[in-house]
């Protein structure tokens, strides 16, 4: 069912995977910034109170969920792109002036973008698991 999202590839389907990356990035940054600013008082107007060591445990779970959602969305996008590409039956360059090649090109480019977005989402999620507190 998901596969019928859009039968025809266009510039919007091309932009979907990086747009998901952007939203995920924004979410992680805002969530962390607000958590540290509002709950851990990193502004340090009273330095050394130890609050900077406030744990980011709850945030980590939120970011994990957001990351999984983002990866699933990118996966859906990639599957759709794979279909637009014609399941990789034909190799690039897809440079013929036909509807089919236009569709395959957009599918292939979207597939590549999905790959980049997928890796980038994982990159962005890493800090939440390697950095434990607001210091």
């Amino acid at each position: 069912m998901v596969l019928r999202l859009r039968d025809k590839a266009d510039l919007w389907t091309l932009l979907m995977p990086p747009a998901v990356w952007a939203l995920h990035f924004l979410f992680c940054y805002v969530a962390a910034a607000v958590t540290c600013a509002k709950f851990a008082s990193v502004n340090l107007n009273r330095p050394g109170t130890g609050q900077i060591l406030a744990s980011l445990e709850p945030l980590r779970l939120t970011i994990a969920v957001a990351t999984i959602i983002a990866l699933i969305l990118i996966g859906i996008s990639a599957r759709q792109a794979w279909r637009h590409w014609g399941f990789g039956i034909e190799d690039p360059p897809h440079d013929q002036p036909t509807d089919e090649d236009r569709q395959r090109f957009l599918g292939y480019a979207t597939l590549l973008l999905s790959g980049l977005s997928f890796v980038s989402v994982i990159f962005i999620a890493l800090p939440a698991f390697l950095i434990q507190d607001c210091r």
Partner: protein, 842 residues
């Protein structure tokens, strides 16, 4: 029809094309709006600014050549480095992209011109006036001296920084508006002005880059404009956005500046790489390998570049986890960048490379840029950046990326495209000299700086004592800078004098495959003798008969019978012909509008507010005249036209088929980005304040109350509904209905704007008291101004209806204005929701 007859007909056609597209002689030449002329002016002006900023750099290198030097006073040194960075970034790097794109894009797209030629000219004159104003300030010892990123509170303090800061803010805001105008034009150009048959998968890679970079400008520049507005309000009216003592935060400016500043690096870099994407296939004698990979890289970089800004703020004390996200994105962006480079290498591997001067510069670019990219990966690791930040290591890094990623490809492009513009080739022998001087000079100057920086030399210091291990390194850098400069001078000499002596060449000197090389050289002002149907990424290689057919006028639009400038408009994805667009011709109006608006900005810098207001209104009036006389032109005899080969196209389309609708749509995206930046400021203050909104004298949170914002919202809803009604009445061919609906809507809109401003006034919110109250005022004023602008548009439509310019058949204006009102309504709704509801929740 006899052969001679046929030839005579063709000559007459060509003559008509020439006449219609010719630039006027004498002093009226400066009224030209054609992309060939404007593109040339733009390129030359940007390059002159480059030479100026380069000369400033040499002054700095003289000062820093030896320790304890007093060649420049600290005051002058600070102006020099500020202006060097500012001019290079704002007056060279970004404008040269727009310049080259305006010059080249139509030739690649088989278009006679870009869709809004007068907008290009307006952009150019804005750029010229703003640029001369900013650069000229140093001759009056009044140049900005706070660094090109102008960190407050140093620069908001009118005691510490004088008029220079105002010149920076207002001069550059003015140029930024021009940049956004150019971006709108280029995006619409790529999407809608391709030749028939050129689908999204066959358009030249340069166009892909222009599309992406145009989009990036649209999202990157508005935050800076928003920041400039806050900044100038603090300097002139003492609204404390960046004043920590009154609830503001200097870091907010850093966020807004770098949300612009980092994408800007890629806005500079991608168009130059785009030139490489045209050059490398030509000299590899084959189509590019990995066309889709380049699209991936361009789109991917475009997105990722918006997640890097905090890496300029790694040492501001933000929590590690925030740094971590930006560190991760900064590493991730290296992936698409690497892909681009390997696409070029792969294309060379799969082709038969012919060596040439453009390729020499491309190779030099690769060597320098890869090095800069690798140091970039290093500084993206926050702990290393804590040492490298604001030291000469970063100076070295940024010059490696910008010179390798931007300047060298640009010079490669200059050698490659010189024949297209001038009809002559630059000297290859001299080119080798230029290359080796620039390449060696650059490395001699900047390689040692990595070590100068790690040995502790901070950037922006006007002098240094000896004995810290910096002396020799700096001396070497200074020598290198002069070698580099000599190389640049040599290429300038070749352009100015060498070129004259050389013989003119025939078409397509490099045997390239893309459309821009189809015409005789130098490319005529009308561009194409006829606009072909393109069926390949490299039509000159794959459609061997095309050049002759185009030259003989056998394709579309071979003539200009009606004496009008015409170009084709096609569909976004598949390039199906949709319209024969008539574009306006030469006019002084763009120059006059730019001069008036520019004078208004300059007057503001000198605190001549009444002068600025009057002249600014005159500028708005001039723009109205320009729009009235130059847009939504109603065809005089028939509303469709045979463009050749039996293809009949409408001359007038409205709604989302018209280029004007697209321009409005895209512009409003930029406008919304600026607005969102202001909303971001509001919530930024929420995160940093322990109590937000701050309590008033009665202890309740300060705010504009509920009643008046609610009234404003109701009236706004009515105004928006009035516009929908107006469009519907017009569609029903009911002119009076349209007029009354417009009037109703305008009255409601003005009422809404008044209620918006009355709300904080009656609640006694004092904008100089706290950053919060100032932000509430800014949001409401921003929205009210949008409503007033909307009323202006309604007045324009009303006048159009009365003059018979706007009817059910000729309805471009009403569609575009309704589109504007959708965005205005969204802006109003958001503003009111934020300013009225947040105090309620608190």
């Amino acid at each position: 029809m006899t052969h001679a007859n046929d030839a005579g007909r063709r000559a007459a056609q060509e003559e008509r094309l020439k006449t219609v597209w010719a630039s006027p002689p004498g002093w009226r030449y400066w009224s030209a709006v054609n992309n060939t002329e404007v593109g040339r002016w733009y390129t030359v002006t940007a390059f002159v600014f480059f030479l100026f900023a380069g000369a400033l750099a040499l002054l700095m290198r003289v000062q820093l050549a030896v320790p304890d030097n007093s060649f420049l006073s600290p005051q002058l040194f600070n102006q020099v480095f500020t202006l060097h960075g500012t001019v290079m970034m704002f007056l060279f790097a970004v404008p040269i992209f727009e310049a080259v794109a305006i010059l080249l894009l139509p030739t690649m797209l088989g278009a006679r011109d870009l869709p809004f030629p007068r907008l290009s000219a307006f952009g150019y004159w804005c750029f010229f006036i703003g640029g001369v104003f900013v650069c000229g300030s140093i001759f009056f010892n009044a140049a900005p001296d706070g660094g090109w990123f102008m960190y407050p509170p140093l620069t908001t303090d009118t005691q510490l920084t004088g008029i220079g800061a105002d010149i920076w803010l207002l001069g550059l805001s003015f140029i930024e508006v021009a940049s956004i105008a150019a971006a709108v034009e280029l995006i619409v150009g790529v999407l809608k002005c391709r030749p028939p048959g050129m689908r999204i998968n066959t358009m030249p890679l340069y166009c892909w880059y222009v599309l992406i970079v145009g989009g990036m400008i649209l999202f990157a520049f508005p935050p800076l404009i928003a920041g400039d507005i806050l900044f100038e309000l603090e300097r002139m009216a003492d609204w404390p956005f960046f004043d920590a003592a009154r609830g503001g935060d200097p870091l907010l400016w850093q966020h807004l500046f770098w949300i612009f500043g980092h994408p800007e690096v890629y806005i500079i870099f991608l168009p130059s790489i785009a030139l490489m994407a045209m050059i490398v296939p030509t000299f590899s004698r084959r189509p590019i390998i990995g066309y889709s990979w380049v699209v991936l890289a361009a789109v991917g970089t475009g997105f990722l570049s918006f997640g890097l800004w905090v890496h300029h703020m790694f040492t501001t004390g933000l929590p590690s986890i925030s740094l971590g996200f930006f560190s991760a994105a900064s590493e991730a962006v290296a992936i698409p960048t690497g892909v681009q480079i390997f696409v070029f290498v792969a294309t060379m591997l799969a082709g038969r490379v012919i060596f040439s001067t453009p390729m020499l510069f491309a190779a030099g670019s690769l060597a320098i840029f890869v090095f800069g990219g690798l140091t970039g990966v290093m500084v993206a690791i926050a702990p290393f950046d804590w040492q490298a930040h604001d030291s000469y290591f970063v100076v070295a890094h940024l010059h490696y990326t910008l010179v390798g990623g931007m300047l060298f490809p640009l010079i490669a492009g200059a050698y490659y495209y010189a024949p297209l513009v001038t009809g002559k080739k630059l000297s290859d022998r001299l080119g080798r000299w230029v290359f080796w001087l620039m390449f060696s000079g650059f490395n001699i100057a900047f390689l040692p700086m990595h070590f100068t920086g790690l040995r502790g030399m901070p950037r922006r210091i006007f002098s240094y004592p000896s004995g810290l291990g910096w002396d020799w390194l700096n001396l070497i850098s200074s020598v290198g800078a002069f070698i580099f400069a000599f190389g640049v001078l040599l290429v300038v000499w070749d352009f100015l004098f060498g070129l004259r002596k050389r013989a003119a060449i025939e078409g397509n000197p490099w045997n390239a495959g893309t459309l821009e090389w189809i015409s005789p050289l130098p490319a005529p002002e009308y561009g194409f003798r006829s606009v072909p149907e393109v069926r390949s990424r490299y039509p000159l290689w794959d459609q061997p008969k095309l050049a002759r057919e185009v030259g003989e006028g056998r394709w579309y639009l071979p003539d200009a019978e009606e004496g009008q400038r015409e170009t084709l408009v096609t569909s976004v994805l598949d390039g199906e012909a949709e319209q024969c667009l008539r574009v306006p011709g030469n006019s002084f109006l763009p120059m006059i509008c730019a001069a008036l608006i520019g004078a208004s900005f300059i007057g503001t810098a000198f605190h001549l507010y009444w002068f600025s207001l009057v002249i600014g209104l005159a500028g708005v009036g001039a723009i109205m005249v320009w729009l009235w006389r130059g847009t939504a032109l109603i065809p005089d005899r028939q509303d469709s036209k045979d463009v050749g080969r039996g293809l009949r196209l409408p001359l007038y389309v409205s709604g989302h088929k018209s280029v004007g609708w697209w321009a409005m749509f895209i512009t409003m995206f930029g406008d919304m980005t600026a607005f969102i930046s202001l909303v971001f400021a509001y919530f930024y203050y929420w995160t940093i304040s322990p109590v937000f909104p701050p309590p008033g004298p009665d202890g309740a949170p300060l705010g504009p109350g509920l009643l008046w914002p609610a009234i404003a919202l109701l009236l706004l809803g009515g105004a928006w509904g009035g516009m929908l009604l107006a469009r519907a009445r017009n569609g029903a061919d009911h002119a009076n209905g349209l007029r009354w609906a417009l009037i109703l809507s305008a009255v409601l809109a003005l009422g809404s704007a008044a209620a918006m401003l009355w709300a904080p006034w009656q609640a006694g919110l004092n904008p100089t008291e706290h950053a919060y109250t100032a932000t509430v005022w800014v949001l409401l004023i921003w929205t009210a101004l949008h409503l007033v602008l909307g009323v202006l548009m309604q007045g324009y439509c009303l006048a159009g209806s009365l003059a018979g310019k706007l009817t059910a058949r000729w309805d471009i204006d009403i569609h575009n204005v309704v589109l504007y009102w959708h965005f205005a309504a969204l802006t109003g709704l958001t503003t009111i929701a934020v300013v009225a509801l947040v105090p309620l929740v608190a």
